[in-house]
């Protein structure tokens, strides 16, 4: 370190600064895939650095599981353990779908904080930040689902479909969550603040998840509600999940879920990409 008496060196070493600046290395462009993976890595780091988000979305379903199983389980299905077999696949649906809201929150934060400015001025595939973040979100969804599943099994949930049934059910759930997260990324690019996205997102999730067959079958509900519960894709997803986890296969509902996923992705993924490139 060379510190002259009249002008103290402000840096650990000005030579280090000059050396760093004199590198005119241009390693060449990152491919679309490398760039998307780099962004996915960023998303996974965020899970590590802000575990609150994960805890947030897993705590509520855990509380619901406990409450519904032990308070209403006996009355609804004869015994808490029996009810849990019905409830848990639906609770997993709820857990994961609630966490899709954070896809919108994340993207809105990037835009409002100016991080996306830098990404967009880089010579990489312009949709890579979005694709990467949605990939990382899938990791988060899987983690949330696994926490919920482990907790359920601790309470006595026993999936008769075995590992294959569970994997099939979770895969279908992830497909639907992936498609739904595009709805929230669109919302995230539309709205002004991360908080607004979170509030509106959760508000939209309530009728989607509660007014479904996650907790009870709709037969005893008033006609209009029964109608909604039956057309709600979340009900189809919950039914299909239950079937997979209990060792059967409900083709009709699986197709319904896949169609709904295709529709959400088909409309909202292009909309998100369009807004990302043009609006912000």
């Amino acid at each position: 370190m060379n510190v002259s008496p009249d002008r103290p060196s402000r840096f650990a070493s000005n030579e280090a600064l000059n050396r760093a600046l004199s590198t005119r290395l241009r390693p060449g462009q990152a491919s679309a895939w490398t760039a998307s993976l780099a962004f996915a890595w960023r998303g996974v780091l965020k899970i590590k650095h802000i575990p609150e988000q994960l805890i947030d979305v897993t705590m509520t379903p855990i509380l619901f599981t406990l409450m519904f199983t032990y308070l209403f389980g006996g009355a609804l299905a004869g015994s808490p353990t029996e009810y849990l077999q019905f409830l848990l696949p639906g609770i997993l649906v709820m857990t994961v779908l609630f966490s899709t809201v954070y896809s919108g929150v994340t993207i809105n934060t990037d835009v409002t904080k100016g991080v996306s400015d830098r990404f967009r001025s880089l010579p990489v595939w312009s949709s890579a930040p979005l694709v990467g973040s949605v990939l990382a979100d899938s990791v988060r969804y899987l983690m949330a689902a696994l926490v919920g599943l482990s907790f359920g099994m601790l309470l006595g949930f026993r999936p008769e479909g075995g590992v294959i049934g569970v994997v099939a059910g979770l895969s279908l759930l992830l497909v639907f969550a992936f498609s739904l997260s595009w709805v929230f990324t669109t919302m995230g690019l539309w709205m002004k603040t991360p908080n607004a996205v979170m509030n509106l997102g959760f508000m939209a999730m309530f009728p989607l998840t509660f007014m479904s067959n996650v907790f009870v079958e709709p037969e005893t509900m008033p006609g209009w509600l029964e109608w909604w519960v039956n057309v709600n894709p979340v009900s189809s997803l919950a039914t299909a999940m239950r079937a997979f986890m209990h060792g059967t296969f409900n083709l009709g509902q699986v197709i319904t879920v896949l169609l709904a996923s295709a529709a959400f992705t088909g409309v909202f993924a292009p909309l998100t990409l369009y807004l990302y490139r043009n609006k912000v």
Partner: protein
């Protein structure tokens, strides 16, 4: 319209226009920025500085006009422009949730470095920008100066031919500001062209080889710092009277002696006069003393941005809402 860019220029822009709804954020900006120098864009909030930079760095599409950046057409050759320029926005555009090191590794990966080379380059930059100790801390714990340094480090993971720095020292303490100034000087020494925006005449004067003054979305003056100041007069005389009641009388004497407009300042006992010739200041002081007007304080200062604006536009550099940031 010209069809060939001048290869001596880092930026050649003619009549750039950007409107947001009814607001003309940028209303016909012309810029000729020679390669290898620091070029300052000076102007108050809302003048159109940020919008201009966002257009030149391909983040916003111009509504009109034409520009070449490092010889590439700004609109038709976006990819090539992105490949050789780098932007440091007004708000540190680094990810607060990640650590300083992770931020740099991410950018290095995106710019095509291998895993291993990304780590080496990040370590080198963290060392150079005096951030090695904070490398493994989340950026949200950084001070304003550290954040700004990381932001600039992130912009030079691949040393760009041209770097845009949008108000790089706004909100920094003097020590951090000096660090940023050192970085800017080192960048230019390394061969990078720097375009920086600032609200401070002093900063433009210290760093920039040439300065463009922007107001209401237009370049209203361009030249070296010396040329700009000469256009304003060589300085301003600030006076503070012992007896505010004599203000009008003092104003009369000053106007007569200096043959220049005298402005009353917010403080009722102070006056400011712009000077074409600083030697006249002594005459003015003598005249006041003869008239029995006692002074509490006087100073002969460099013209401030406000004075430059007053001289160039006839209105002070008011603080408007930042038009560019709302987009």
């Amino acid at each position: 319209m010209q069809s060939n860019p001048n290869t001596e220029l880092a930026i050649e822009a003619h009549g750039l226009i950007k409107h947001f709804g009814g607001t003309k954020a940028v209303n016909g900006v012309d810029l000729l920025v020679p390669r290898g120098m620091v070029y300052g864009v000076l102007g108050p909030n809302g003048a159109g500085k940020t919008t201009t930079i966002r257009m030149l760095s391909t983040l916003l599409k111009p509504d009109g006009g034409h520009a070449w950046v490092m010889g590439h057409d700004l609109v038709r050759d976006v990819g090539a422009v992105r490949g050789c320029v780098s932007l440091t926005g007004q708000y540190a555009s680094v990810d607060e949730d990640l650590t300083g090191r992770e931020n740099l590794v991410l950018l290095a990966r995106l710019l095509g470095y291998s895993r291993r080379a990304s780590k080496e380059r990040s370590a080198e930059l963290l060392e150079a920008f005096d951030l090695a100790d904070a490398a493994r801390r989340q950026v949200r714990t950084y001070s304003g100066g550290m954040r700004r340094r990381l932001d600039i480090a992130a912009s030079i993971v691949v040393t760009p031919d041209l770097i845009f720095l949008d108000e790089p020292t706004t909100g920094l303490d003097p020590r951090s500001r000096n660090q940023v100034w050192d970085i800017v000087r080192a960048l230019v020494a390394g061969g990078t062209t720097v375009l920086l925006t600032t609200q401070y005449l002093d900063e433009a004067d210290q760093l920039a080889d040439r300065i463009a003054v922007i107001d209401h979305g237009k370049v209203i003056a361009e030249g070296t710092g010396g040329e700009l100041k000469a256009s304003v007069g060589s300085g301003a005389l600030h006076l503070r009277l012992k007896n505010p009641a004599l203000l009008l009388q003092a104003e009369g004497i000053l106007t007569a002696v200096l043959n220049a407009p005298v402005v009353a300042e917010a403080d009722p006992a102070t006056l400011m006069a712009r000077l074409a010739d600083t030697s006249k200041a002594t005459d003015a002081l003598a005249a006041l003393s003869q008239a029995g007007i006692e002074l509490e304080q006087f100073s002969l200062g460099q013209p401030s941005l406000d004075e430059v604006f007053l001289a160039l536009t006839g209105h002070p550099a008011e603080s408007e809402e930042k038009i560019g940031e709302q987009q």
